[in-house]
């Protein structure tokens, strides 16, 4: 791939994601103060010692933002990886096995998707105890329904191609067909889908935290920080908007990269008869 063929918008996206991941990895090194350390008065304005001011309990907002990147990205990424693995395994199984297995998985998936994700999450989280791994698991399972749908469609698309038929006529086994014939031809759309799921997970996690059902305090996470500081808004204090902007920026960056990946996939398809 030619680096110069990557458009500016995708470079912006890549840069934004890199900064966020850097913050997440080296949070203790970069952050000027501790995650839970009360360092000054409540809602101090930006400037001076506190670049972005302080929050509703007098903690440094910038430090919490950096630590928050850690929690938000880790949880969203874990949920995405999990949902993706689950969705892909089930969808490829369904597509290759066909018949009853396919019918059963697909109909169950339809049922899961008949309930809006957020509503489903609210109902389930109302019952389950509040643990980080339960949160990740719930997000992953709910999201895997969308991955299943895409994965099955993509796999079926490729599975009916004649080169797959040719491999079957040669006598190749399922493993070869899935990993050597189908998978390489589905990587591009699936990579784009992974990005989409990741962006969705960030937004979803933030929404849950904002509603008080995601990450529990005092751990810093962006959605929770909005919730903590939202009462300042009516006094004209913008502390709640800063983590909100961070969420939006990261989601935009991911979407910019996804947009480019999708265009690339479709131009490959259109331009060269490539699957």
């Amino acid at each position: 791939m030619n680096l110069r063929s990557i458009p500016l918008s995708a470079w912006i996206g890549i840069a934004g994601i890199t900064i966020a991941i850097f913050c997440a990895l080296f949070a203790p090194v970069i952050a000027p103060f501790g995650e839970r350390e009360v360092v000054g008065d409540v809602w101090l304005p930006a400037g001076g010692d506190f670049l972005l001011g302080t929050d509703n309990l007098g903690r440094d907002l910038l430090s919490r933002l950096i630590y928050g990147a850690r929690t938000t990205i880790f949880v969203a990424l874990a949920a995405t990886v999990l949902s993706f693995s689950l969705g892909m395994i089930l969808s490829f199984t369904a597509a290759v096995m066909g018949g009853f297995v396919d019918q059963f998985f697909s109909r169950f998936n339809d049922l899961m998707m008949a309930i809006p994700t957020l509503i489903f999450a609210l109902v389930v989280l109302a019952v389950l105890p509040q643990h980080l791994w339960i949160l990740i698991l719930v997000m992953a399972v709910l999201d895997s329904t969308r991955v299943f749908r895409i994965g099955r469609a993509v796999a079926l698309d490729v599975a009916v191609m004649e080169f797959v038929e040719a491999a079957r006529l040669r006598g190749e086994g399922s493993t070869w067909i899935i990993f050597r014939e189908i998978l390489p031809n589905t990587l591009s759309p699936l990579l784009a889908e992974f990005g989409l799921r990741f962006a969705f997970s960030i937004l979803f996690l933030s929404t849950l935290s904002f509603l008080g059902l995601g990450i529990q305090p005092p751990a810093a996470d962006w959605g929770g920080m909005v919730k903590d500081n939202k009462d300042g808004i009516i006094f004209g204090i913008s502390a709640a908007l800063i983590p909100g902007a961070a969420i939006a920026t990261l989601a935009i960056c991911v979407n910019l990269v996804v947009d480019w990946l999708m265009k690339r996939t479709s131009s490959l398809k259109g331009g060269r008869g490539d699957a």
């Binding site: 079957r168 006529l169 040669r170 031809n185 060269r272 008869g273």
Partner: protein, 550 residues
């Protein structure tokens, strides 16, 4: 140039046409390519000019320039198109609109896509006449009815009440011709109007079009890749290649005395014939009483039997829906038959793919119509051809590479193609690689499913000659599935004619393709256009005589 014609009768005069297109590959600067350059021709009132060429010759682009229209990023950047002495390329929007659909009309290759699915056929046929104020609704309806009759459409009185999806492909193509003729235009551009049709349908549509334009004295640009078709309908022919004129002359001169090598090749392309093998007694492949259908109970094949001696070629010929491709799927085991059995080298083959051993699979290989989709786009030629070697014979390393190179030599492609991806090959090269992949398994029988029908005629001829050469070298047998009688003549030893899932006729080529015929084979053979002026009239005449005799 055809003999000069008087300026008074001149309808369309194209001078030094230049057409360019700009593409926008994502992330790269826009690219401009020249599609057509330096093309000039003259068309008199009431005459037909045939534009002929392979894909990419620019013939459709030239045809659309007569409507001052460019598809996608296509722009007409130079030259003139004088319609009755006035250059339509310099007209403004309204000027162009007043010509399109009124004085010049267009018939697309796929009428199924070109008709709006939401409206009745009749309304669409008369729309242009009404909008341009050429006639009122009553007159337009009357003219549509007259045209439906001329074009031989069934129930012309009520035909216009139907929706596009309610009529057949051949009827739609004729309806589109009626739509073009309705406003009484001076010129119609026919863009491959019969290419998507079966031969037996093609002859009817062709005859209808010819009759209708003669009847209405309309001039036409007839675009096609099939010289035999255009020879039936046009007065002059222009041969195009890579956007440039190769040869331009009267139909008689082009067909009977072509001057350029390229034209000569096009004229003689379908004339290869091969004598059949004299001894057709052995049976390598034996198909006995095969019936097959799909899971929903739809039966495609009914009690089909045929056989093939070792080292020979069996051509299975039929139109779409005849079940010929289904038969190939049954032989491969992809679609287990519901009845009957298949014997190969004296041993009955397991019905389903799963039941066959690797060696049984190795001995029967397959070549597809679309080499594009038959090869994994993420594998190089080396991987594609090499896989059967390692899979069936356990070859690897230098030995495998050496064998792949040998196979590439055999298909007349150099070793420089070794590390190319399919997307980097031309259509003909792709099909050659697909043949090499089949050969790599050292098969005894290769099933060829229309391997040349998606290729341009000269490229297709190259593939056929290669297949014949390989048969001499390796004594491999072919089951060759095709809709093209010319190919049958060129390569077959024995022939099976199929129609609607049944075997109509089977035997040595000399017997099957000689009278006395059954009705269907007769129709099929007579429908194949021949490279001969006046063929269409002759066939229609004998048809009329036969129906009068009955």
């Amino acid at each position: 140039m055809p003999e000069s014609s008087s300026a008074k009768n001149m309808l369309l005069s194209v001078r030094n046409l230049k057409i360019e297109a700009t593409s926008y590959p994502p992330g790269e600067p826009p690219k401009t390519v020249t599609l057509v350059e330096g093309v000039s021709f003259d068309l008199e009132k009431g005459k037909v000019l045939g534009l002929i060429g392979e894909s990419g010759a620019g013939k459709s682009t030239i045809g659309l320039s007569a409507l001052a229209y460019g598809r996608g990023g296509v722009r007409i950047t130079g030259g003139q198109a004088l319609l009755d002495g006035k250059d339509i390329l310099t007209l403004d929007k309204n000027g162009i609109r007043s010509i399109r659909g009124a004085r010049v009309c267009y018939v697309a290759q796929s009428a199924a896509a070109a008709f709006n699915p939401a409206h009745r056929l009749g309304d669409q046929v008369i729309e242009a006449s009404l909008r341009h104020g050429i006639m009122n609704r009553e007159e337009a309806k009357k003219r549509a009815l007259y045209l439906f009759r001329v074009l031989g459409l069934p129930n012309p009185e009520t035909f216009g009440d139907r929706y596009p999806h309610q009529v057949s492909g051949g009827q739609l193509q004729r309806a589109m011709t009626a739509m073009a003729l309705c406003p009484n235009p001076e010129l119609i551009v026919f863009d491959e109007p019969t290419t998507a049709l079966d031969v037996t349908t093609q002859i009817d549509v062709l005859a209808a079009i010819k009759h209708a334009i003669e009847e209405t004295h309309t001039a036409a640009l007839y675009i096609t890749h099939d010289l035999a078709v255009v020879a039936q309908i046009s007065d002059d022919i222009m041969v195009l290649r890579h956007g440039k004129t190769v040869e331009y002359g009267t139909t008689q001169q082009i067909i009977e005395a072509p001057k350029e090598d390229y034209t000569r090749a096009l004229v003689s392309v379908r004339q290869t014939k091969r004598d059949e093998a004299p001894d057709q007694t052995g049976t390598q492949l034996k198909i006995e009483h095969i019936s097959a259908g799909y899971a929903n109970g739809f039966k495609v094949l009914h009690d089909v039997s045929m056989h093939l001696p070792k080292g020979q070629t069996l051509a299975i010929v039929g139109e779409s829906g005849s079940g010929k491709s289904t038969l190939a799927r049954v032989i491969t085991g992809l679609l287990p038959p519901t009845e009957g059995r298949i014997t190969f080298e004296g041993k009955e083959l397991p019905r389903a793919l799963k039941g066959r051993s690797n060696d049984e699979l190795r001995r029967i290989q397959m070549i597809y119509q679309m080499a594009d989709t038959a090869m994994n786009p993420r594998q190089t030629v080396r991987d594609i051809v090499g896989r059967p070697l390692s899979f069936y014979f356990g070859m690897h390393g230098a030995k495998k590479t050496a064998r792949v190179k040998e196979l590439l030599d055999q298909i007349e492609m150099g070793t420089r193609f070794l590390d190319r991806y399919p997307a980097e090959l031309s259509g003909g090269q792709k099909q050659r690689v697909a043949i090499a992949r089949a050969l790599a398994a050292e098969p005894e029988l290769i099933l060829c499913d229309e391997p040349t029908s998606a290729l341009d005629p000269l490229v297709a001829e190259g593939i056929l000659n290669l297949l014949l050469k390989l048969q001499e070298e390796t004594a491999v047998s072919y089951v060759f599935i095709t809709h093209d009688i010319a190919i049958v003549r060129a390569i077959a030893d024995s022939v099976a004619v199929m129609h609607r899932g049944k075997l109509v006729r089977f035997g040595p080529k000399s017997k099957v393709l000689a009278p006395p015929f059954d009705d269907y084979t007769d129709l099929l053979l007579k429908s194949v256009p021949e490279m001969e002026i006046g063929w269409l009239e002759r066939v229609l005449k004998t048809r009329r005589m036969e129906s009068a005799g009955n």
